[in-house]
């Protein structure tokens, strides 16, 4: 939609623009505040944090706390920073996102283009899975992981995230493919393409926007997860969020806010990166079907 342009006089139009920009900038500043505090604090020295103003820029910016958070800070009895946990998270997030996205795409494909009696019920049941409070499944999940021999492993964690991500990925792809013309599927079928060929050659290449939305959504959710991480992983294999929580609590008598903040920024970097780089496609993807309307 193109916004209605004001047809009033030029002067009043300029005032309107001014108000709009001012409002947006003020709101943006408020939204940025926590990130700003995290960033500036991470560049400050402890003395400056204690004495100074939370909102002030660092007087003498230093990267020390960043190095410390990455490679030296103590978590429990080991003092190797958070770098190992960073890779743990990557090892968990990448397969979990890929698997859940691929499965979601296939499910969405079946539920829209290869319908069978009861497909709505199946979809409804899968969708409801999005809404289950995860605290309720910890214990039985632990048991199941134990039976599968996946307890306390990264693959177990990947499995858990795939299981509870399926509802969302299926929803996204289902809504997107719902709007994909059936005639294309018919045409491909008459051209001799089979089930997987149609998916691979016709649907998937056109699924860019929804893949972006799904990947962003899954990536942020899994990267940020704490509950499953703390329950189904341990020690050196913990994901980033668990390590960050330990680090922040692993304070000596003096809370090293700057190191905590630097570590928090490290933990936030991948998701921030994903949102900033792909944010434009996110809205586009939402338009393309993740949101109706």
């Amino acid at each position: 939609m193109s916004a209605p342009s004001d047809t009033v006089s030029a002067g009043s139009a300029r005032t309107t623009r001014l108000v709009i920009y001012t409002l947006l900038l003020v709101l943006a500043a408020i939204y940025l505040l926590p990130l700003y505090v995290m960033l500036t604090t991470s560049f400050k020295s402890l003395a400056e944090i204690r004495g100074g103003d939370m909102l002030a820029l660092p007087r003498d910016p230093s990267l020390d706390s960043w190095f410390k958070a990455w490679g030296e800070a103590c978590i429990g009895v080991t003092c190797e920073g958070i770098k190992g946990y960073f890779w743990n998270s990557i090892k968990m997030v990448v397969p979990a996102v890929l698997i859940s996205t691929v499965l979601g795409a296939l499910n969405g494909y079946v539920l829209t283009k290869w319908r069978f009696p009861g497909h709505k019920l199946v979809f409804g049941l899968m969708l409801f899975a999005c809404f289950i409070p995860f605290q309720a499944v910890l214990i039985p999940m632990a048991r199941v992981l134990g039976i599968f021999g996946m307890a306390n492993t990264t693959s177990g964690l990947v499995f858990v995230h795939v299981v509870y991500g399926l509802g969302f990925t299926t929803l996204f792809f289902r809504n997107y493919y719902e709007a994909f013309p059936d005639e294309l599927i018919k045409a491909a079928m008459m051209d001799g393409a089979g089930f997987f060929k149609i998916f691979w050659r016709i649907l998937l290449p056109s699924s860019g926007p929804i893949i972006v939305v799904t990947v962003i959504y899954q990536f942020t959710n899994i990267w940020n997860d704490f509950l499953f991480g703390v329950s189904f992983s341990s020690g050196a294999e913990s994901p980033m969020t668990v390590a960050l929580n330990n680090l922040v609590s692993s304070s000596t008598g003096v809370k090293e806010y700057n190191v905590d903040m630097a570590a928090a920024v490290f933990a936030a970097l991948p998701t921030l990166f994903v949102y900033i780089v792909a944010g434009r496609y996110f809205v586009r993807g939402l338009m393309a079907g993740a949101v109706k309307g």
């Binding site: 294309l184 008459m190 051209d191 393409a193 056109s206």
Partner: protein
């Protein structure tokens, strides 16, 4: 025996019978047009032939082979869709070649076939483009190319021209016709546009609510519609339906119309004995009602009737006039240069050679 045969075909969706006992035959090289209002089941029938929709009962036979249970891709049938259904992620070349690729045709052979088709359709310069970069008419050609390249036994067209503007539609219509002429392909074509049906078909099937109303050549359908529905549906402006009653004037039976304001001869298309007092409907196409300068000199039976002009619509070549008499309106087609204006009284000439008569209760044409 016919090349394509549809026998006792029925289709139910839930409790709703969308196709009722359809029987159609088509010779090789024939051009069958399925026509009817939306929701009449014509697209369903096409999908059934294509194999995109399972049948409830009946058989579809192509060249002596029952194809009911074959997968769409194995029926050797190609289809052009209303939306063209071009694969958005593929180039024109890939779109046309996709079916061949799926059949495992060699790359070189494929390229050769694509080039030939592109030449026929004059889209050689578009081969590297993607569908989004094409105009509507170009897309249409690509969609046809995709069907042509397979050299199938039967082509199916699902309202292929409905998304084009008026001028392009006429052009493409002509092109499809010449394509049919040149390739001698067997075609089933769905449309709701009766002009397309008339111009293209060797055989027209008129459908209504899942049942066949009439099968025939375009001329048969137009001139001798089987019932009120067909008569009303085919032709534009629609056929005039005038309520009439059989009267006897000095021993000769005639039809009194316009509430008795006019009495005309019983058309020659009717051989049934019509008893006096019977109610009928007299059907006469607009071109059967003209000004006196346009009277067919060979006509056997004509009648001159004065009526009030309500509306005048010049089309350039002719002028359509709506007139009213005794509360009944009708449309006439007069010469473009006749001076005529609303609110005037004008003398219309009714050519009863072209008229047909229907039974008002059953709607069937009286023979």
């Amino acid at each position: 025996m016919s090349f394509l045969e549809i026998k006792n075909l029925s289709k139910k969706i839930g409790n709703n019978e969308v196709l009722k006992n359809i029987n159609i035959e088509l010779e090789k090289g024939g051009f069958l047009v399925l026509v009817g209002p939306s929701g009449c089941g014509k697209s369903t029938l096409l999908n059934a032939v294509a194999g995109l929709m399972p049948l409830t009962s009946g058989e579809i036979i192509v060249d002596g082979q029952v194809i009911n249970d074959l997968h769409p891709s194995k029926r050797d049938i190609a289809m052009v869709f209303q939306s063209y259904a071009l694969y958005p992620n593929m180039t024109v070349e890939e779109n046309i070649g996709f079916a061949l690729e799926m059949r495992g045709v060699e790359k070189a052979e494929r390229a050769e076939a694509i080039r030939n088709v592109a030449k026929v359709l004059q889209i050689e310069h578009l081969l590297d483009r993607r569908p989004s970069q094409l105009s509507g008419g170009q897309r249409q050609r690509v969609a046809m190319g995709r069907a042509l390249v397979r050299q199938p036994r039967v082509f199916l067209f699902d309202e292929p021209l409905s998304n084009l503007d008026a001028k392009l539609r006429v052009e493409m219509r002509a092109e499809i016709k010449s394509l049919h002429h040149n390739t001698d392909a067997t075609i089933i074509y769905v449309t709701h546009d009766q002009i397309e049906a008339m111009t293209l078909a060797t055989k027209i099937v008129v459908l209504k609510e899942g049942a066949i109303q009439q099968v025939g050549t375009p001329a048969e359908i137009y001139n001798r519609p089987a019932n009120l529905f067909v008569a009303d549906f085919m032709g534009s402006p629609a056929m005039n339906m005038l309520k009439g009653k059989i009267v006897s004037t000095s021993g000769v039976r005639q039809i009194s119309i316009f509430d008795g304001s006019a009495v005309v001869a019983i058309p020659s298309s009717v051989t049934t004995d019509l008893v006096e007092g019977r109610e009928v409907i007299l059907g006469l196409r607009p071109e059967g009602i003209t000004d006196s300068g346009l009277v067919d000199p060979t006509a056997d039976a004509i009648a001159r009737i004065d009526a009030d002009v309500v509306l005048v619509e010049p089309t350039g070549s002719d002028t359509f006039v709506t007139a009213r008499l005794q509360g009944t309106t009708f449309t006439a087609r007069v010469r473009a240069d006749v001076t005529i204006a609303p609110k005037e009284r004008f003398t219309f000439v009714f050519n009863l050679d072209k008229a047909v008569v229907f039974d008002p209760t059953s709607g069937e044409r009286l023979l």
